[in-house]
């Protein structure tokens, strides 16, 4: 294993992580809700009639407007998406369907679940990390 010292950014990663943790902390303590993005978005598709829509839509809007706010103060960091269009479509469907079937994603299981020391979320996190590692290995080292 070789560490990518050029792209490795421990300090900004930790700072950003603290902000993500702060957001999850505030959402559970003030709203009594888990900051799981797939659960929040999925809930919007699930029950459009109930009064549960407001906080979900507001949280999603905050996420979407974050880069707009960031851009008003500084230059947005680089965004590089190497995947082609067809792969992106397939990946999006897998991520959306998989997160709902598995009841969570990197935020719900990875951040909130591990913070709650939930064995269920640990299994989910280890599973999606494992298939993520295997997928990238296949793309980068087997088929190229």
């Amino acid at each position: 294993m070789t560490i990518d010292w050029i792209h490795f950014t421990p300090l900004s990663a930790l700072t950003g992580g603290l902000l993500i943790g702060l957001s999850a902390a505030l959402l559970i303590l003030y709203n009594g809700r888990i900051a799981g993005i797939s659960g929040i978005v999925g809930g919007l598709l699930q029950r459009l009639q109930t009064g549960d829509v407001g906080w979900r839509a507001a949280f999603v809007l905050g996420l979407v407007l974050a880069p707009v706010l960031y851009r008003a103060a500084a230059v947005l960091p680089e965004i590089r998406i190497d995947a082609g269009w067809a792969v992106l479509l397939l990946a999006g469907v897998l991520v959306g369907y998989g997160a709902r079937l598995g009841s969570g994603c990197t935020s719900g299981h990875g951040v909130c679940g591990l913070s709650r020391l939930s064995p269920r979320s640990l299994v989910a996190t280890l599973t999606f990390m494992a298939t993520g590692f295997i997928t990238v290995y296949a793309i980068r080292h087997l088929f190229t």
Partner: protein, 146 residues
């Protein structure tokens, strides 16, 4: 009030994703590429988030209502079943293919990235597919009581 605060919390989450570098799919792929030159940044993001999360959820567990008086809705599911593992496995494959998960997808959408928009639409389609399947299953199991 809770809606306004939710907006602010979403904003903080999104800023965290941008600052941490996690809204850049190339950085996620750099983490998932163990056999290449490996970028361990994601571990530091998780560590920072979980350090605060552990304290917050410990406090949350002691309360029945949130600071705004809403019911504390902590997950109750405990079973580790096929659905959890299969869903997470599919999620990981998609995550590895694009380097994008749901939070960063919404940030990419807001940044105006064309690929981010397409990914988010596909993500919503995948979630909708799950909802349709759930409803069909429910309809099939409840069919006699019409």
């Amino acid at each position: 009030m809770s809606v306004l605060l939710s907006f602010v919390f979403g904003l903080i989450f999104g800023l965290g994703l941008i600052v941490s570098g996690m809204s850049n799919p190339a950085k996620i792929i750099g983490f998932l590429d163990l056999a290449g030159v490996w970028d361990p940044s994601l571990i530091f993001v998780m560590a920072g988030a979980i350090a605060i999360g552990i304290v917050a959820f410990t406090l949350a567990r002691r309360r029945e209502r949130s600071l705004l008086g809403a019911p504390m809705q902590l997950p109750t599911a405990r079973d580790i079943d096929r659905r959890l593992v299969a869903g997470s496995a599919l999620f990981g494959i998609g995550w590895g293919l694009a380097g994008i998960c749901p939070g960063p997808a919404l940030v990419l959408l807001g940044s105006g990235s064309a690929k981010g928009i397409v990914f988010t639409l596909a993500l919503l389609a995948g979630m909708a597919l799950f909802e349709v399947q759930q409803r069909m299953r429910q309809a099939a199991s409840h069919s006699p009581d019409v």
